[in-house]
């Protein structure tokens, strides 16, 4: 039995924490106004904050293709998709704000590199093939992890995830539609998609995270996460790899295969150094994108002033 990931040792606090843990293990949910251990509040806030950051940073690679969409309908659908990601950020920042951290502070921490966002959003986009890969495979990976969060012990996050998952499912169909047009299109379009898969595969593998340590995972202890990184990646493989292969598209992992006997996927473990570098803020596009956000944030301080009712100096 894992002991609670807390610092304090005073009996009264420890007893309260254990009682809290028993409740959430029994399936009870926690609301914003409930008592919760400080460590739970911190853990769930940081988790949600990183999720919100990822949505708002994820908008940046995708929005590059709005001006360049190759048809009116796709211009509309891509704009609305990115709008939805901003909407997810809005929902999640509100949940985090209600846990006690202001949006100003969260944005300030984000643009100054003090908080993190998911690895996949640190990479460049190069073609419309990337738009299809992001819309189908990356959103697919996100949906696998997000569906697992529907069991989260923190109820405001569960409510947010219900709406987010419904919208991501729509994005997935959109991404699949984009993909199907490319793989059944001209040789250039097919190559565009295969090339994007080749470039994005490793970041997608990294997205699920390094090998889990279940006994030491505070997020599993507090019922914030319910599945291990490996389980989620395996689910992703089962959902998407057979479909890619059916379309004649390969993935750049020569070891990837399904082991019928073992009932799981075998894959070539990627370079985890790259993952650690990226999440520490040294991805190929990290500095540029944070710079863009910071510039937008600083330039429009006057708008926030006008909204906060502060008088102009």
């Amino acid at each position: 039995m894992q002991s609670p990931p807390i610092e304090r040792t005073d009996t009264e606090y420890v007893d309260r924490v254990l009682a809290f843990k028993a409740r959430i293990d029994a399936g009870e949910k926690v609301e914003a106004a409930d008592w919760m251990p400080d460590e739970y509040r911190d853990a769930v806030l940081r988790f949600i904050e990183m999720h919100a950051n990822s949505e708002i940073m994820g908008a940046l690679p995708e929005r590059e293709w709005i001006p360049r969409a190759p048809s009116l309908r796709r211009k509309l659908s891509l704009t609305s998709k990115v709008q939805d990601e901003v909407g997810h950020a809005q929902i999640l920042y509100r949940v985090a704000e209600d846990l006690g951290k202001s949006r100003e502070k969260m944005f300030d921490d984000l643009v100054n590199g003090r908080t993190k966002f998911h690895n996949v959003f640190h990479y460049p986009t190069r073609s419309w093939g990337d738009v299809a890969v992001i819309g189908w495979l990356i959103d697919g990976a996100a949906l696998v992890t997000q569906k697992a969060l529907l069991n989260c012990s923190y109820e405001p996050y569960v409510r947010a995830m219900k709406r987010i998952c419904a919208e991501e499912s729509l994005h997935l169909r959109h991404g699949e539609d984009l993909t199907l047009e490319l793989v059944s299109g001209t040789p250039e379009q097919r190559e565009m998609f295969q090339d994007a898969v080749n470039r994005w595969w490793r970041p997608i593998m990294h997205f699920f995270g390094p090998p889990s340590k279940p006994g030491k995972d505070a997020l599993l202890y507090w019922g914030i996460k319910s599945k291990s990184n490996e389980e989620l990646r395996d689910e992703f493989f089962s959902t998407y790899v057979p479909r890619l292969w059916d379309l004649g598209i390969s993935v750049p992992d020569p070891e990837l295969r399904y082991d019928e006997q073992g009932g799981r996927w075998h894959w070539g473990d990627p370079d985890w150094d790259e993952f650690w570098q990226v999440v520490k803020g040294q991805g190929p596009k990290t500095a540029e994108r944070l710079g863009l956000r910071k510039h937008a944030w600083d330039t429009h301080a006057w708008v926030r002033q006008a909204f906060n009712g502060s008088a102009v100096a």
Partner: protein, 250 residues
């Protein structure tokens, strides 16, 4: 093509290109607008403009022969008929709001008139479009009220002064407009519409305590294929992928 059809096509392309090009500029804010809730609202406005352009290109198709994507994404720069004000870079939020407000009042004036066009398909399309455009005007006005009320009118007055003359050019008379006025397809000529727009803007801006800008038309010629230096990079973005893979479906 008959003179009348030529005139109708001119009108449609002017309206559609304004909406497409400005909608394109507005859509560039999606993902990094000044505030998240505002990002969502403004993105819907951008999407509406692009959808309105599509509706108008659909009306143009039987006259021109090209389908909406080919019209929107397949013409050469000199073939576009938008007012030049629509193609400028969005610069900053103050400029964007000033252009948004002045344009949407202008759009309200011209669409308000076109609702009684003798060209029934256009009149019908316009009355649908206006149901969505009402929100755009509400949005722009709310911002003016909020910003002037909070003492930030100066972010607007400079931009309004820059943009007003160029939005005036939106009402540049079309070459064959007389034909359309005679037939009732264009119920009121552009000179009259411009005056109505000027009067409305004067009265509204004064009510917000904002200085009334100079309305002398500036950056004219958009209706005749004149473009500004801002158009070429926009055109590369907007049309590049479509033109590179002619005939491909996406």
């Amino acid at each position: 093509m008959s003179e009348n059809d030529h005139a109708r096509l001119s009108l449609l392309l002017a309206l559609a290109d304004d909406e497409l090009i400005l909608g394109h500029r507005h859509s560039e804010w999606t993902g990094w607008a000044p505030m998240i809730e505002v990002d969502l609202a403004f993105s819907s406005i951008a999407q509406d403009e692009i959808a309105h352009a599509q509706i108008l290109y659909e009306l143009a198709e039987p006259l021109d022969g090209r389908e909406p994507d080919a019209l929107a994404l397949g013409r050469h720069p000199g073939e576009y008929r938008n007012a030049i004000v629509c193609e400028h870079d969005s610069r900053d939020w103050g400029y964007t709001l000033a252009r948004h407000y002045l344009y949407d009042v202008a759009d309200d004036v011209r669409l308000g008139s076109l609702e009684s066009s003798s060209w029934s398909e256009l009149a019908k399309a316009v009355s649908v479009i206006r149901l969505e455009e009402r929100y755009h005007l509400d949005h722009a006005r709310s911002w003016l009220r909020r910003l002037t009320g909070a003492g930030h009118g100066d972010h607007l007055s400079g931009a309004l002064a820059t943009v007003a003359g160029e939005v005036s050019a939106l009402f540049e008379p079309l070459w064959e407009e007389d034909v359309l006025v005679r037939s009732g397809e264009l119920p009121r000529p552009h000179d009259e519409l411009r005056q109505e727009w000027q009067d409305r803007v004067t009265s509204e801006l004064s009510s917000y305590g904002l200085p009334v800008p100079d309305f002398t038309p500036a950056a004219t010629g958009g209706r005749y294929g004149q473009r500004s230096p801002d158009f070429a990079p926009l055109w590369e973005d907007l049309t590049g992928l479509y033109r590179t893979h002619q005939g491909a479906t996406w």
